[in-house]
Amino acid sequence: MTATVSPPCDAEAAICARGIVREFEAGQSTIRVLHGIDADIRSGEMTYVVGESGSGKTTLISIMCGILYPTEGEVKVFGTDIYKLSDTELVNFRLDNIGFIFQQYNLIPSIDAASNAAVPLIAQGVPLHEARERAKVLLDKLNILDQADKLPRQLSGGQQQRVAIARALVHEPRLVVCDEPTAALDARSGRRVMDLLREVAVAPGRACIIVTHDNRIFDLADRIIVLEDGRITHDGKDMPDDH
Amino acid sequence: MAILPRNLSFSRQILPILAVIGVIVAAWYIISGQPDREIVEPAEQPPKAVGALADAPRVAGAGVVEPASEVIDIGSALSGLVTEVRVRPGDRVAQGEVLFRVDDRAARASLAQADAAISEARAAISEAMTAQRTARQQLDLYRSLTDPAAVSRAEVIRAEGEEAAATSRLGLARARLAAARAAAATARTETERLTVRAPIAGEILAVNIRPGEFVATQGGSSQPFIQMGDTDPLHVRIDIDENEVARVKLGAPAVISPRGAAELHVEAQFVRAEPQVVPKRSLTNSAAERVDVRVLQLIYALPESEDFRVGQQVDAFIAAKDGPTDAED
């Protein structure tokens, strides 16, 4: 579809997406959300994916982290063409390589903070006790070790978010995907969270993608990819001025 | 779950454990509550074929014990009051032994009357003989007189008449004696008939009269006065359903058990089969019972035994001919 020839993948790239097209069926008509995206996410960087609602940034990020099949195109995550994997292999790939921080946190309400943070380890088959110990190390790092035995509903929003961050990092994934981490926070808290994320999530060999449209934190990015109507309109260290 | 021992959860730990315990208890209750549908061995021994008959073709029948002579219902030839009963049930009597007497006063009176008539006749005979002798002497006297005038003709005729009268009186008296003797004999027989004697040697089985009771020769519907029979040996009369008759091996011994003592098994020898097939007699003592089955009655002799009594019901098994009955199927 796209006229331009995509450049080959950089071997260093954490994610290399090429020619990503995604269409959704909407009744009789087909809506094309992404129009042939080429994007590279590099390790050791905090990359922002920015765009208005409906710009396709959620779709792009879903495709890049292997939870949504693209209509066309290929995605290599750390060199693995993830959409050539079988369903189960893809799920296990996500489990081993990707950490998620959801906007709603999606913590399991009936298990305590430590167990929630340990979910990826438990899913990997780590015994419960060991998984919780490892999760607690991370909770300690996030300064909420004292909340480890509390249920999510007993925690404040910020504490819940820290638990969610711990869950994303507990299994030491190479890619961390973070959806609107500051949307529900005031400016100061937002910056604190971003500092925290940079502290724990950004490391050599580990990529961190932040999906956001919160302009208060744009200055914290290593790199910003701007999406408009399913196309990348900007890719650079700073935000373009028209935003 | 051991991770949170301090938070013992009702719904996660106590409830499932209670559920498991509950299921086990319920299972135990259900299993132990299953009804006892086992076959039970009879507490008392029912009649059954034993020994060789247990596995061989056989015919079963029910019967009654009876004396070898069958039961003799002693009757009385004459009606009257019973004055004396000489026997009791269970007594053994010889042939001709007195069983009971019926009031014989009337018979004795007529005997006395006849005896009196005999004496009277005898007296009349002697009187007539005397008169005859006197008349004859007188007549001889008259006849020895040669002188016709010594005695008148009329005198002679009178003497002749007297002699003839005496002779006929003697004849009459003799006849009366004979009649009186006959009457005495009749009276004596009567007396004899009022004494009932045993027709055969045997055992008294029942006595249904007592002194003072009236025995009647008519009617016949009432109980027999005395029952007796020859109980050595005892016989059993076994009813065999007419449909089974063809299968019975006639002449073979029978295995007999008295009712209520089925563990006793006595072998009885074949005596005879009744020639007639008769309607089955009810053995249940129920007057209302009527049946239309016919049976052949077989008579078997029981060995000496204390266990059988006349009138007792028995169950019998008799060998069957090796007929169409298949031994193994």
Partner: protein, 378 residues
């Protein structure tokens, strides 16, 4: 992961107990109704089970059950005794009579005449008195139904007189018997007494009870009796089944109980299905998150199965315990006398619970499995 699943389930107490209630209610309804049904139709065979010695029942070819019988001539007993393989055979009379109680009430009763000498045909146990009391003249043993029906509790039935078809009968004992389907009062007496009590018809031998020689099976002997005597012979099991079939064929009981059991099943599916679906819907985001994080569908299925299994185990246990408690609570009621829970019934309800959970779990799972993990970003 299963630990998480269980936590998720029990974390929502309302729905958890709702699910338990649904399963427990279904189990209770199915188990309890089937138990009553089985016991009720088995009452049709009570006459057979009340004569525990008999291995084979011989009857007129037109007789159908212990209560629907046509009498045979008395020589039938001897005919049966003549058959090889018959260890013993005794007469058995079953008839109906009218009893006038002291108060003057008229009541139809069953009269059972058992063998005079051996008393074969009496129930296995006597509730009061010994079996040998029947040897007394005019003695009858009343069954426990009758002892309760005829006499107020403060009166000891033993020694009481009854007027049975104008004959005097003295109650000498109480038989511990299984009540009949109609709960008719039954008087046990000796065969010869029974002939007196019951108005005379020509033939009165209702049944011949047969014991089988060692080494022979009842069905072999029954077949031989049929062939050689022309009478109808049934093994104990066959005849018990005949009594049950008679009830099933001639009453609406199977339909009624079938409907109730079906309703129990439907109610179970409805309650459990709705609650389970609601529960899954409430947790759909968590499931979505788990799927995104990297939990395979197979693991999700196992999680839901574990949830269903826990609900099933506890709910089923509650239902079965409820049934047991019900049966225990009513065991004193004469109507429920001898009621038991056939071991097959809890297994059937277990299968029903499994089916309910499989159906509802499958419905609930479908929405989870269909959930796109990407949905968590929206």
């Amino acid at each position: 992961m299963l630990w998480i699943a269980i936590r998720m389930l029990t974390g929502d107490a309302q729905k958890f107990y709702g699910l338990l209630f649904g399963i427990a209610f279904s189990t209770l309804l199915i188990t309890q109704q089937m138990t009553i049904f089985v016991n009720l139709v088995q009452r049709g065979a009570s006459g057979v089970y009340n004569a525990p010695e008999a291995e084979v029942w011989v009857m007129d070819p037109v007789s159908r059950t212990t209560d629907v019988s046509y009498a045979m001539p008395p020589t039938a007993l001897d005919k049966v005794r003549s058959v090889q393989g018959v260890e013993w055979a005794v007469p058995h009379l079953r008839a109906v009579a009218n009893v006038r109680t002291k108060e003057g009430d008229l009541e139809g009763v069953g009269v059972i005449g058992v063998d005079d000498a051996t008393l074969i045909g009496l129930p296995a146990r006597m509730a009061k008195g010994d079996k040998s009391v029947l040897f007394a003249p005019d003695a009858v043993a009343v069954d426990d139904t009758g002892s309760l029906r005829f006499f107020p509790p403060e009166i000891d039935p033993v020694g009481q007189r009854l007027e049975l078809n104008d004959q005097r009968a003295v109650i000498r004992g109480i038989a511990d018997s299984i009540p009949s389907f109609t709960s008719t009062v039954v008087l046990y007496t000796r065969y010869s007494n029974a002939l007196n009590f019951v108005p005379g018809t020509r033939n009165r031998l209702s049944f011949v009870l047969v014991g089988v020689s060692e080494g022979q099976t009842p069905s072999e002997v029954a077949a031989r009796i049929e062939r050689e005597t022309g009478l109808k012979a049934r093994t104990r099991e066959e005849f018990a089944q005949a009594g049950i079939d008679f009830i099933i064929e001639n009453t609406g009981i199977p339909t009624n109980f079938g409907i109730t059991v079906f309703l129990g099943f439907v109610v179970g599916v409805a309650i459990v299905g709705l609650t389970f679906s609601l529960f899954i819907r409430d947790n759909i985001k968590q499931f979505g998150a788990l799927k995104a994080i990297g939990v395979t569908n197979a693991k999700i299925v196992r999680m839901v199965a574990a949830q269903a299994g826990l609900v099933g185990l506890i709910g089923y246990a509650l239902g079965v315990i409820g049934t047991v408690v019900f049966i225990l609570a009513f065991s004193a009621n004469p109507f429920f006398k001898g009621f038991y829970i056939p071991w097959q019934v809890p297994l059937i309800s277990l299968v029903a619970v499994a089916i309910i959970l499989a159906i509802t779990g499958f419905i609930a799972l479908r929405s989870v499995l269909k959930t796109e993990p990407a949905a968590v970003f929206r």
